[in-house]
């Protein structure tokens, strides 16, 4: 396989093959954490960090991992990194750890991490694999922040906890902070991106 340039890798993971909008991975956490921007940011960074490190480790071991148990090994490595992140936060950033509590553990269930391990890390060298994982996590973080921008602004009238819209609470859209809002916002985004990709493909075919 021809080596992919870092910039191309970045563009692919952030835009053309964004894991959330194009591969529809990591949807469960995208629905849950996107009602405030702060939660989205920390969750996004956590996922980027874990995906990068687990891709690096799994790629470094790719020659010695027996093929038929590779998923067991992937899960094991990912779990170790997630627990490490949790311990680090508890030890050095107790405030963040308190706020994120249940989410850190949930990073483990994010399909993007295993998706990158399967799709990229097992057939590419460690350093590109690390960047691939990290960029995929950033692409995820970007979508989370876009969705939470809409939800927090219209649902709470705040951005990162700062009051932006000054109005009576009854004027805000409570539906935006409830799970259904994430369904239709992410749904609309996927629709938009897919329609655009389809138009491009059709123009190419002509």
């Amino acid at each position: 396989m021809a080596a992919e340039k870092l910039s191309a890798n970045f563009k692919r993971n952030m835009f053309t093959e964004n894991q959330v909008l194009r591969a529809i991975l990591g949807i469960c956490s995208s629905l849950a954490v996107t009602n405030t921007m702060r939660n989205s940011l920390v969750m996004g960074l956590g996922v980027a960090f874990v995906t990068g490190l687990s891709s690096l480790t799994l790629s470094a071991m790719r020659e010695v991992i027996p093929h038929r148990i590779r998923m067991l090994v992937q899960t094991l490595v990912i779990a170790v990194y997630v627990i490490l992140v949790d311990l680090l936060l508890q030890a050095y950033l107790p405030e963040v750890s308190k706020q994120l509590g249940p989410y850190v553990g949930l990073i483990i269930t994010n399909c993007i991490i295993m998706g990158r391990a399967e799709a990229y890390a097992q057939s590419n060298p460690p350093i590109p694999a690390m960047f691939d994982g990290f960029f995929a996590g950033l692409g995820y973080a970007m979508i989370l922040l876009m969705v939470s921008f809409i939800r927090e602004l219209l649902g709470f009238g705040t951005l990162f906890g700062f009051q932006v819209i000054h109005t009576a609470p009854e004027n805000l859209w409570t539906i935006m902070i409830m799970p259904p809002a994430a369904f239709f916002i992410i749904g609309s985004m996927i629709w938009f991106i897919s329609a655009r990709a389809a138009r491009k493909a059709a123009a190419k075919a002509k």
Binding site: P66, I69, L76, L84, L88, A91, I177
Partner: protein, 202 residues
């Protein structure tokens, strides 16, 4: 490359052993820092419930706690669920009590301290030391605007705290988190009945 069962099996055992060992070592290494953080958080929480926490630094929290807070029985009760009832003591006189409480909310248990003045007619504060509610929804009970509503809230024996406009106070629930909000009041009212006003009942 095709490999035999023996290699596969040994590989799994080896990698598991290595990773588990690494994690155990990391946990041991971080343990002192994590325990210290937990103790500090607990002390900060108690000070908050007693309305003694004014943006104190970590060192000040330890100092304030050591000089002003002591275990103090209330209605003959020394502890609740294994945690001691604490008080803000000055010149040997309790000024306010921090009563530990525990209850169950929507997703998990709820623990914290309820601050009550020594004459049991007002709350001095409410703080949660453990909650597992949905971040951004029920988790917002841990935010300042919610907790600070309880400071100075009048209480009386036989009375229950309720949401909405009440005689003497107004209390707002968290939007989109009705179950959690109700669970908080259920837990607090239970703590009032079973601990704060327990003496009068017997």
């Amino acid at each position: 490359m095709k490999r035999g069962y023996v290699y596969t099996f040994l590989f799994m055992v080896a990698i598991t052993a290595v990773l588990v060992f690494a994690l155990a070592a990391a946990y041991e290494g971080f343990k002192p820092a994590i325990t210290a953080n937990k103790d500090l958080q607990e002390q900060r929480a108690v000070l908050y419930a007693l309305n003694l926490d004014q943006n104190l630094s970590d060192e000040q929290v330890v100092q304030e706690y050591d000089s002003k807070v002591a275990p103090q029985p209330l209605n003959g009760l020394e502890e609740v669920n294994g945690l001691p009832i604490l008080a803000h003591v000055e010149d040997g006189q309790p000024l306010a009590y921090a009563v530990p409480f525990e209850g169950s909310a929507l997703w998990g248990s709820l623990r914290g301290y309820l601050g009550v003045t020594a004459d049991l007619d007002q709350l001095t504060g409410l703080v949660f030391t453990y909650q597992n509610e949905t971040p951004g929804l029920g988790g917002r009970i841990d935010e300042e605007w919610y907790k600070s509503q309880f400071r100075g809230l009048p209480i009386q024996e036989g009375g229950t705290i309720r949401y909405g406009g009440q005689p003497g106070y107004t209390l707002d629930a968290v939007t989109g988190a009705t179950q959690t909000s109700q669970a908080v009041l259920r837990t607090l009212n239970k703590a009032l009945e079973n601990t704060v006003f327990a003496g009068e009942v017997e």
